[in-house]
């Protein structure tokens, strides 16, 4: 920012706020990490577990690489088909559908995937009719891959579709008038437009899959299909083997650091744009064969994403709600979940706002201190990606020795972890919006003398109402669906909805589980709908 949009007093206050926020994030992340590192240094590596650590690490990387490759590979033709068919009826609903997995609790999705792809699932029954056996096993690597593709294919496809729709309309007109064929258009126009978003998406997906916990916990399992995150959880909760957990956590942090570095190298600026209900007219995409192929691809993609959600809905509705709603545990879990989610979301937004304001307050005469605050505030958002919830939880778990002595400490930790998880997303939503607001109103407010608390209350917050609502809803959805933090600290007295659901699944109360999954899924999807910056319904007729 070249000109100051804040008074000197405001800038000073913002700077202090930033320092406070950084301190808070530091407390939330650095303390558990420091604990892990210190404890890890005290624990000499036990060479008998060496092979085990190596195997877990290898599997973590392998499943993440495969998941990424499959997600991107399928997303390219899907995004291309969606771009080539800009106006079929229901397109907007498919785009909205593709935004849902982002906020769907992994546990709920896992349950839905089980009923579609599981041993008694729809696919296997169909294949069984044909081949006589159920040939597909969802447990193990194949299940993990299906689940990761379910979550990340729509995300990658949306990012690539944005890349395609950013291309000017004249490109497609030129392609048509020059008579370029489908393959040439792909090679010379579509692929260059998709390559950057594909690389960015690949980095993001890899990051998410390396730190994937819930899906691997449910669908993986067994020593052959366990990732670092799940192994940490097992080491702490089942085997009570802190040294092993520490080593696993240290390896996990090293891996996420490398992955994040990779992401920085390939990602670059991510330009997000809105996806519109009607895309650019594709005057080049007229071949009948190509058109039919597009429709088949889109239908297959939509079915793949929709089926598990539909299955969750169907099996959830057949649950015995009359019995379920009289379980006090349910209401207690709902209350706990909502309380944690609301606190985590508010905390996350507060920290984000402080960090963002501090970043804007460092303009004209940057001192070393101001620069440090600016850099730290910028880095904090992605710093939390380094330390996945289970690792953060593991650090606190070891510091508190299981945290069973009191209720408050684990609650505070879960809230903090959930808030940190949401921070990168909240920062992304709010930073762009705040920048726009400051650019639009900043100097006007200064010239009118509306500064300080008055400005925050009268100008900034009202102007940020929409993005704030979106950030709040999204952060709440993330926290509501999280199993990672509660998995370490949960017990009969401290249970959230995902924890209760996990318990029901573990004790084979499948109808209860289906009902709980439906409740949790509906809660999160409702929040996502509130948060979704959904495709605009119309666009001006461009010709």
């Amino acid at each position: 920012m070249t000109t100051a949009h804040l008074t000197r007093a405001e800038a000073r206050a913002a700077g202090f706020g930033g320092v406070a926020a950084i301190a808070l994030v530091g407390l939330g992340i650095a303390v558990p990490v420091a604990a892990l590192l210190v404890l890890g240094a005290d624990t000499p590596p036990d060479f008998s577990v060496d092979a085990y650590l190596w195997r877990i690490t290898r599997f973590t990387l392998w499943q993440a690489a495969l998941s990424t490759a499959l997600s991107i590979l399928f997303a390219i033709p899907l995004a291309r088909a969606l771009a080539r068919r800009p106006r079929f009826p229901g397109r907007i609903w498919i785009l909205r559908l593709f935004a849902v997995p982002l906020g769907l609790p992994p546990l709920v999705a896992a349950l839905g995937l089980l009923s579609v792809w599981g041993n008694n699932g729809f696919i296997n029954r169909m294949l069984g009719e044909i081949f006589g056996t159920a040939p597909l096993s969802i447990y193990g690597l194949s299940g993990i891959l299906i689940a990761h593709v379910f979550f990340n294919l729509p995300l990658a496809a949306r990012l690539m579709l944005m890349g395609l729709e950013r291309q000017p309309q004249e490109y497609w007109k030129n392609a048509a008038i020059l008579g370029m064929g489908g393959w040439t258009v792909f090679r010379l126009i579509e692929w260059p437009a998709v390559a950057r978003p594909a690389a960015g998406a690949a980095g993001l997906v890899f990051m998410l899959c390396v730190t994937s916990f819930t899906l691997v916990l449910i669908l993986g399992g067994g020593p052959g299909a366990t990732t670092l995150e799940v192994a940490i959880f097992q080491a702490l909760r089942f085997d009570f083997d802190p040294p092993r957990a520490i080593w696993l956590a240290v390896i996990q942090i090293v891996l996420t650091s490398l992955a994040l570095l990779l992401l920085r190298l390939i990602g670059g600026e991510d330009e997000r744009s809105q996806l519109l209900a009607i895309g650019n007219d594709r005057l080049d995409a007229t071949g009948r064969l190509g058109k039919s192929l597009d429709i088949v691809l889109i239908a297959a993609g939509a079915a793949f994403v929709f089926a598990p959600m539909a299955a969750t809905l169907v099996s959830g509705l057949s649950a015995d709600f009359s019995r379920l709603i009289f379980r006090p545990a349910l209401w207690q879990a709902i209350a706990t979940s909502l309380g944690i989610a609301a606190s985590a979301a508010v905390l996350s937004i507060l920290v984000a706002l402080l960090l963002i304001r501090a970043r804007f307050a460092a303009p004209d005469r940057p001192t070393a201190g101001k620069l440090a605050v600016d850099t730290l505030a910028g880095a904090t958002g992605s710093l939390v990606l380094l330390v996945p919830p289970v690792v953060m939880g593991a650090g606190w778990f070891l510091l508190l020795r299981g945290g069973r002595s009191s209720m408050l400490a684990p609650l505070a930790i879960i809230v903090t972890i959930n808030a940190m998880m949401a921070l990168p997303f909240v920062m992304r939503v709010l930073e762009t919006a705040y920048r726009a607001v400051l650019n639009r109103n900043g100097r006007l407010a200064l010239s009118l003398g509306v500064t300080g608390w008055n400005r925050i209350r009268r100008v900034d917050l009202p102007a940020l109402a929409r993005p704030l609502r979106a950030a709040l809803a999204f952060a709440m959805a993330l926290s509501l669906g999280d199993l990672g933090a509660i998995a370490l600290f949960g017990n009969e007295d401290l249970a959230t909805l995902p924890w209760l659901l996990y318990q029901s699944m573990g004790s084979y109360r499948t109808t209860d589980a289906a009902g709980l999954a439906l409740i949790l899924g509906v809660l999160c999807v409702t929040l996502m709908i509130i948060a979704d910056r959904s495709p605009a319904e119309t666009r001006e007729n461009r010709r």
Partner: protein
Amino acid sequence: MKPAIDMRKVERKLGDRQMAFDFSRPRGSITAILGPSGSGKSTLLNLIAGFLAPDRGQVLIDGTDVSHLPPGERGVSMVFQDNNLFAHLDIATNIGLGLDPALKLDGTQKDRVAASLERVGLAGYEKRLPGTLSGGERQRVALARAFARARPVLLLDEPFDGLGPGLAADMISLMLEIRADVDATVMMVTHDPREAESAADQVLFIDQGRIAADGPMSGFFERSDLPALSAYLRGRPEA
């Protein structure tokens, strides 16, 4: 002689506006398409190019009914106001695509790419990327591609808009030379009366989706029998 462009009772509904065009143009003519914004000027070009299919009527180019042919097979080149060049492909590739859409160029075609660049005064620009050229140079490359393609019809959609008067005048004379070289018939949408006067020999004045006037360029702006024209040139009296 058959007209180069023959629009036979072409009708097309867009939104709630019914467009109707019926006219023909002899080979080698240069027509300025004028009219208020939203009147259907670009729609007319899109119908000729094949970006829009007519609801009724036929589009004939050099006597052949092309109504059902895709844009690439109609014998048409087109220059837009912007984005005529793929920004990530070098100049030679951008022109080469006009000669072979699969980009398998033989020696003579490569020579034609070079010759076309020389024709517009940009010899040696083959390896440059469009982003390193000025706006005027990019439009010259677009003209070079039209020159290399040598199609019978050249459609221009406000191609010299935003270039400034001097540069636009240079571009128009270049366009006129190229038109003469390849003996093309030109249809040119513009909203600049001076541009129309210096480039065109005929006018189509479009108003509310219909042809309000079809005649020679000379003296056209002095006509007083067209209320839509005077509103277009001088603003509506009540506005």
